[in-house]
Symmetry: C2
DNA sequence: GCAGTGCTTCCATTGAATGGAAATTCCGCT
DNA sequence: AGCGGAATTTCCATTCAATGGAAGCACTGC
């Protein structure tokens, strides 16, 4: 027993604390937090109290813990994701108004897509791509659109390790899917998540034609009108790209 | 020279790092970060590297540092601000479409208002209330709307310490402003920030009539139509409140 | 009133954090 | 290309902040 039995640094433990919240859950009891983060109760308690002093977490009655407003504030004021969001939101709203479909914006992180923003069609059922949610590249049209416009090297590495656990998609399939997407300029994926929906996505490119993000829609199969959708998305994506060019990334 | 010359704990220092970014700036050089956070260069370097290992910050070429995508993800997946945002966004979009004005959503944090979400009128000039931005309560209609529906005790404490640096608003004025707002059910503030705009805001109440948030619009003076605006806002606020009642706060 | 659960305080132990100094890399300038 | 200055990164002896078990306290349900 000593300074950190487990060999963690303090930084490691702070990360454990703020990463301990399961998806979409914003409140935990101290003891549950300790359990989930794998920290001794006493240590969790001490850390939480310290973090609370700075507002990185907020404490409720009876030992309830939630991520702090101040943390939210700091992150949402200075995160690079915000620059992207800021640039994209007006265009996304246009698309949403014109097409009345779920619109989303995603970036690549590792070999997964991270959804940065999403506008729901009013009244639509909760769709899978939650904000700050992740999906494997090959499951989402946004992922395919992004990967298809990444540099050759990145694509190579990706394909190298690619393996569809369901076995439905071979590496060769994936390679040709990316190639085709690059050629067409947009990705379309028939309802992988939900069998009755299609995903269409286009890349947001910087001046070097490198994909920064992907802009996509999810539409019910019967409302699928590719010829109307794709140009609208591409126009918007171009607008976002231009906007980003102006802002310092 | 020893363990922390300044008497900071590690937690303190991590906070310094992530709070060191000035408003809206997402990238800093390591040395600048060290300077701004008041940490010795070596220490800043060590911390940043550790944080980067967990993705709480991302490192660019040549020592550039930015807040990490993973941090953004964690916060935006589990922060209580998100529950609010999620509940409010559809209603905000409705308002924005119908009225075509800047719509914003704010909560109270300390004696300041924190803007949680904002939809810009398309083409409008950048307005002051940025997302994750703060304003003193008495400067913003959202602030007044919030404070007017907080419990008596909180209002008392607020008035206790209230002092308008500009001297334009006395404590007595503030008190009657709050009372009047509570009576009317909405707050209106003539262009404090920008002389040609008005702010109108209504509280989002929980079942105990305690204000959780405020929903507001900023409109150019000449487009001001109170009789149309207020009912629309109130309806939306009620909807948001109902939605929040369902979700576990 | 009692048992059980969970939060909080206390404190001796010790290795993780510290930061000056030196090595290295990067970058602008000639 | 080659040089000079400023930045980043590595190294490592010193030391106190972090650690977590144990005991105390508060709250809840039976």
């Amino acid at each position: 027993m000593a300074n950190s039995e487990s060999g963690d640094s303090v930084v490691d433990r702070i990360v454990r604390v703020i990463a301990a919240f399961p998806d979409g859950v914003s409140t935990l009891q101290l003891s549950e937090l300790a359990g989930r983060s794998g920290l001794p109760l006493t240590t969790a308690h001490r850390l939480v109290r310290q973090l609370a002093q700075h507002g990185l977490v907020d404490l409720g009655d009876g030992g309830s813990v939630r991520l702090g407003l101040r943390l939210w504030e700091l992150v949402n004021r200075n995160s690079p994701a915000l620059v992207l969001r800021q640039a994209a939101l007006p265009f996304m709203e246009d698309i949403q108004q014109v097409l009345n479909q779920n619109v989303n914006l995603a970036v690549l992180d590792g070999w997964e897509v991270l959804f940065v923003e999403r506008l729901s069609r009013r009244g639509s059922v909760a769709n899978r791509a939650q904000i700050a949610g992740r999906m494997p590249v090959h499951i989402s049209s946004a992922g395919v659109a992004l990967m298809a416009f990444k540099p050759k090297g990145v694509q190579g590495e990706y394909l190298e390790q690619f393996a569809d656990p369901s076995g439905r998609l071979s590496r060769r399939d994936m390679r040709s899917l990316l190639a085709e997407t690059n050629l067409q300029g947009y990705a379309q994926l028939a309802g992988v998540v939900d069998p009755d929906t299609w995903g269409i996505a286009v890349p947001v490119l910087d001046r070097k034609r490198n994909a920064l993000a992907a802009l996509g829609v999810v539409v019910p199969l019967q409302e699928m009108r590719l010829h109307a959708l794709v140009p609208a998305l591409q126009t918007a994506a171009r607008g976002i790209g231009r906007q980003l060019g102006n802002a310092a990334l």
